[in-house]
Assembly symmetry: none
Homo-oligomer: 210 residues x 4
DNA sequence: CATGAATGAGCATTCATTCAT
DNA sequence: TATGAATGAATGCTCATTCAT
């Protein structure tokens, strides 16, 4: 899953054989994503990114139209990949419960693989909601929500899931609990993303009470 | 609870017996909190705040030392109140389950009463974690965590709560799901905060599966 | 005539008694007008203007919204004054010939008094014609043309002026010959603007041939 | 006349017997001249020119040393041709009146054939007067003036022209009225350049009064 | 308390130019 | 001839902050 989210691989510098131009772009975007995510978009200056890349700030404009264009490209890639992945999962023809588990595993896996893009999506909500240029993010979010809601509702219809919970609110609780882990989950730490996912599923399935 | 969190009352301009100067401060802080929360701290200019208050930006410096000092004061008030409230709840001598429910109800109530402070705390994590001046926020967060963890562990010990869940991870899941609602919960909407809290408790107690 | 065009007086610094704020603006605009006119608008940097005014470039933005806003204000003042003056002249109820002579004297007087504004109007035609923000300049120019054409046509009707000349083309020839003098006429030189005007009228009235 | 001014022909791309390289130069210069004239020299970027030519901006430097060198070459061609043409006219051994008419016809013809070069010469006076590299333009202008003044003075001596007009000022009036037409004359419009010339001569010869 | 003018550091962006390929 | 990546200096503009009045 999430095979084309390139955050983790691009910086490794392994790839040289593919188109050189595209590789440079990806490299710069990867740097930008990390800085945007850790310092915040508006706290990150174009010079910061350029310094990290070892070039002058003006040179960035050979590759990208603007600082905002970099963020746009990062988020567009992220949202696009995310959407196509969860659609694959939802359409894989399993039971609703298996589908929901799949979506949840995929979410934690995404956090593991492209933590900076996820953090960006989480932290820059004010910017994303305000600037019209980022309307596409909200649109994609609605598409994502539609997929999750479909699974939840079908699960209730098939009596996999409890029927007394409001699907909309339930979706938000699940979504927020999962995506928020990006703030404390460390991809290089000892806690595996599958372990975290299992813990969450355990709690979600059966509840907290003994 | 949360009796001195002043977000909702200050703008009303009732201006009670306390010194007029203090009232002005609270008013300005309230304006700042709302703008910091909705636009983001660094996207909010001192002039934005002053404009909204009907004064010139330079005049703000008669009330506060700096823009950062305004944020500090907002967060210090918020964290202080939050901590004292949850300690009261945890020490009220109930069962762990009653205590946990109390904490959860209180959280949603806080979101209802001081949404801007909560949003600030949620959205400015990058700034808060980076700037040394805001270390006190992290410190208070640890204190809050200690209280919750105490309740959770005691609940496991008393077999109120399942023992197979890791308390640390469980706490984070619960905390993040709750505080994140600040992004979509509308204090003036039709959905009551108690209703949201009840929905969450329902799911948390018994789980999602039928 | 042209009594409120302030280019020549503002820099003198004589006036202190009137509103101090307005005086500072006028002073800065006067500096800007001169530099815009002599170096060209786009060759003049905001720092140039600020240096000449003895302040930092950023401080200019306390008085004006942008560099373009400065040019706009200069041109708006100029076109407004020009239009009101020539309307006064055309409506003074003289013969067409007297009216035309009056317009021509006024033009040379304007060049004498506000050479920088005139030069700006002459030299920045590319910018003025392209940028939509400066459409008002073109509009005012058309109004000016209407006044001149009215005088020329009435003169032909009353047989003051030759009837075999196209009024539109004639107007342009006269206009261009006059306004272009701003490039070589020196307000502080020995050649009086009335002398130049007389020379032009002499040629215009009777022609070049002996 | 003006046989080597290449504005009108170069873009046609006929590419005659001369070296292909030279043709490319002329093509690029033609593009540059048009853009310099219509947007202004400093508002035209090297990239604008390269885009229009279908190459990258850096590639322009294989043909020209600098942006300024392009302008220099355009103006040098223009001034050189102009000077040789008017000298031919002035030395053709006609009466002063015939010579003057010839100069005037030639001027309007030049505007018709190389409007961009003329516009450049008219509009970039600030740049041309300031930058030492363009001193040759001013020098050529003085040579042109000398020719015109010779004709005017001889005309006065031979009593072709009125003796009470100052030749220097008269020259400037005539020159400015003519060259300024470049701003409104449309080479592809219905108004022929000879018609405009005739109108001007009519007014100049006999004056405006009936 | 508030104004208004100014500071000074910084920001995103532009652009003519260079150069290895 | 042309590309594409980069330079380096400059540009218009922003903004938290200061301070005399």
């Amino acid at each position: 899953m999430a095979s084309s989210n390139n955050e983790a691989t691009a910086r490794g510098g392994r790839r040289r054989s593919n188109g050189a131009g595209s590789s440079r772009r990806a490299q710069l975007l990867s740097i930008a994503a990390e800085m945007f995510a850790t310092r915040g978009y508006s706290q990150t200056t174009v010079r910061d990114i350029a310094d990290e890349a070892g070039i002058l700030s003006g040179s960035l404009y050979h590759h990208f139209d603007s600082k905002e264009a970099m963020l746009t490209e990062i988020l567009r890639d992220f949202m696009g990949n995310l959407l196509s992945e969860i659609r694959d999962i939802a359409e894989a023809g399993q039971t609703p419960r298996e589908a929901l588990d799949g979506l949840i595993y995929n979410s934690f896996e995404t956090i593991h693989k492209v933590p900076f893009a996820v953090a960006l999506y989480q932290n820059e909500s004010a910017l994303l909601a305000t600037t019209p240029e980022f309307a596409f993010v909200h649109k994609a979010s609605l598409d994502v929500e539609k997929v999750w809601l479909g699974v939840l509702k079908q699960g209730q219809a098939e009596e996999d899931f409890r029927a007394d919970l409001d699907p909309g609110i339930t979706y938000r609780f699940i979504r927020d609990a999962i995506w928020s882990t990006v703030r404390w989950y460390n991809p290089r730490g000892r806690l595996q993303h599958r372990t975290v996912a299992d813990q969450y599923l355990e709690m979600l399935h059966g509840g907290l009470l003994a």
